[in-house]
Amino acid sequence: MAHLAHYREAHPLPFVITHWINLVAMILLIISGFNIHFPFWAAFEGIARGIHMFFAFVLVLNCIVRVILSFFVKSAPTGGTRRTDTDIKSWLPQTDNRHQAGAWVKYYLFLKKDHPLSAKLGVPQKLSYLLIPPLILIMAYTGLCLWGPTMNAPPFAAGLNLVGGAMMMRIIHYFLMYVFICFMFIHVYLANVEGTAPTKLMFFRREHGGLVYDPDKHAIIGEDELDEKH
């Protein structure tokens, strides 16, 4: 057992909920978005548009709520500990991440045999998660540039003018959807490739034993085998 123990403190309940909302909203947005782009399922088109607009606002609100909560809710700054600190700190670079970017890349390219020590989020993971909120907002902006009721409002008309019109904006919106799809591929892959424990914790709050890490000493200090094994 080489991974760190998975404790609920890593993902407090509010973040489990926002994560669920993200998952449902993104999947529905992608499916309805494909249908709006080309109505492969004709009868779904009208509903798809309703779903798309509704969940776009849900996703944006959820994103804002998640970011604001990160300043108030405490979570474990690293894996393998029940100690908690303000959540935003584990989004931003931590001492545990320092000098480890290269190590992570090498590890995933099989150029490094042992697992890099890390914060709750590794360097590439942290960078990609930090990109998600701005990406959601940009995505929403491009969407509102294309939505009838908002397309003529000055902030959106200016955007349309900037990118070269509604067709280019549609293509940007379309490409950004693939950025989300690619992110989800990588996210789901990396979260599960070394075992399903992280997923079980994130979605169902099931804990899992493993190595114990100290966020102050930045080192592994032992091992904790929980009764419950998965």
């Binding site: 004709a42 003018n161 591929f185 009764d227």
Partner: protein, 470 residues
């Protein structure tokens, strides 16, 4: 009280020309409707007309110069299909069309002289149809010993306003489509380059709908003002809503009734043309209201998906409707990468497919290297820390007691009987120790980080203890 019906001199004048009051009011109503000016009525138009140069005893009709640039004269042809008032009325009764290569009767020196005289007199409207060509030092369209580009600047400089008629005049249109060999640009861009500040009214379309031009003329002639223009210098009443907003097939769109292929039953039923690349949702114009050819029909009504011909950004000749919308029957335009044309879907699916394949291959790599079950063992010390022991991030030399105390502090393990952490590191056979239980987290066992043997032993001990419990 004596009441006397007074017929104005204006109506007597009309009567003498065979125009009844009813005819006149019908014309005014048509003008108001055609202009799409919601806030003025036929009565307003009638009043304005009476007060205008047309109703005046003295003065001239508003002079107009209508010049062809790099055009197909399609906009003129389109204008010839105007219904009410008919083209002859517009040309002969409402304006004084002093110069028009297509509609004018004159030719040669005297014709050009008429233009010069109109320019010299000033107070005229300049309608320019077609693109301005910048290549060959602006010499293209050279007429009457004057380079084409000078015709534009020279005529526009003194005009009250320029009407850029048709998408070519707005930003080069299809003339400016890749590779734009003639350097086509729109009138507004050309005037800006030459520092001419005459206001430009952009009326896009390929061709422009005649009623749009008429709407502009109505505002200028009768209301003595330019229409309200949007950020692109287009009359906002005509170019704010999309084709989709006013489309008669919109109901089928809402119902999810689409034409996927020409020649099918769905096409015969007049369903929505969206899957065939219809640009209605992103094209701003009121074609569905004004319609075309004596208001008989228009593109979508006659079965053709909108191809977005009014898409024209006057500030950017690359954002012309042909570049933006081809291939017309696809939902997206093609993107140009060098000499290749690729659809956005091809690009997106290729990148995503490559990524998916890379992840699958990576997964095999993870399997082969035995990382699938919990990942590789953790590094004992960060590489950077090893190289910079004086500035090390982590504390790797904690004693067992210290470790146990930290664990207890973190609430993940009860104080345990110390296991020779350093011993384990040395021998690689750190023994697992039983620990007490705390809270809800169950039995805990401490073992050395990289001492896998120790960890295995710990697991074993743990399993045994559980077996005992069971």
């Amino acid at each position: 009280m004596e009441r006397e019906a007074i017929v104005s001199e204006f109506y007597e004048k009309l009567d003498s020309r065979g125009v009844t009051r009813r005819d006149f009011m019908k014309l005014c109503g048509a003008v108001a409707a055609a202009a799409g000016i919601a806030h003025i009525t036929a009565t307003d138009v009638a009043y304005a007309l009476e007060q205008s140069v047309i109703g005046a005893k003295e003065g001239n009709l508003y002079p107009v110069i209508w010049m062809e640039g790099a055009s197909c004269t399609g906009c003129t042809e389109s204008f010839a299909q105007i219904e009410t008032p008919d083209p002859a009325t517009v040309v002969l009764e409402l304006i004084s069309l002093n110069y028009s290569e297509t509609l004018g009767a004159g030719a040669g020196w005297s014709f050009e002289e008429a233009r010069e005289q109109t320019i010299a007199a000033g107070n005229y409207i300049f309608i320019y149809e077609g693109a301005v060509l910048e290549k060959w030092e602006g010499q293209a369209l050279r007429v009457a010993n004057e380079p084409g580009i000078e015709h534009v600047t020279h005529t526009a400089a003194k005009a009250n306003a320029v009407v850029a008629l048709g998408s070519c005049a707005v930003n080069g249109g299809w003339m400016a489509a890749y590779p734009n060999p003639a350097g086509a640009i729109g009138v507004q861009q050309c005037l800006k380059k030459h520092g001419i500040e005459t206001p430009v009214v952009n009326v896009p379309g390929c061709p422009a709908n005649p009623e749009w031009l008429e709407a502009v003329l109505v505002d200028v002639l009768f209301l003595q003002q330019l229409p309200d223009l949007n950020a692109e210098g287009k009359p906002s009443l005509l170019f704010t809503q999309t084709i989709h907003d006013n489309c008669q097939r919109r109901g089928h769109f809402e119902n999810g009734e689409f034409v996927y292929q020409f020649g099918t039953r769905e096409e015969a039923l007049g369903y929505c043309l969206y899957p065939l690349g219809c640009r209605g949702p992103q094209t701003k114009a009121n074609c569905g209201i004004t319609r075309w050819n004596n208001r008989r029909s228009w593109c979508v009504e006659s079965g053709g998906p909108c191809i977005g011909c009014t898409t024209a950004n006057p500030a950017n000749s690359n954002e012309n409707w042909v570049e933006t919308n081809t291939p017309f029957l696809k939902r997206h335009r093609d993107l140009r990468v060098g000499d290749f044309r690729l659809s956005p879907t091809t690009i997106a699916l290729s990148v995503t497919g490559l990524l998916a394949a890379a992840l699958v291959i990576h997964g095999f790599g993870m399997k082969i290297t035995g990382r699938m079950n919990g990942g590789a063992d953790f590094e004992k010390v960060r590489k950077w820390d090893k190289r910079h022991p004086d500035r090390s991030i982590g504390c790797y030399d904690l004693s067992d007691e210290e470790c146990a105390a930290l664990e207890a502090e973190a609430g993940v393990a009860a104080p345990a009987k110390p296991v020779g952490r350093t011993t384990a590191a040395k021998t690689g056979t750190g023994t697992a120790t039983k620990t007490g239980t705390t809270g809800t987290t169950g039995t805990r066992t401490r073992a050395k980080t990289a001492g896998q043997d120790g960890a295995d032993a710990a697991k074993k001990a743990d399993e045994e203890s559980k077996g005992g419990k069971a």
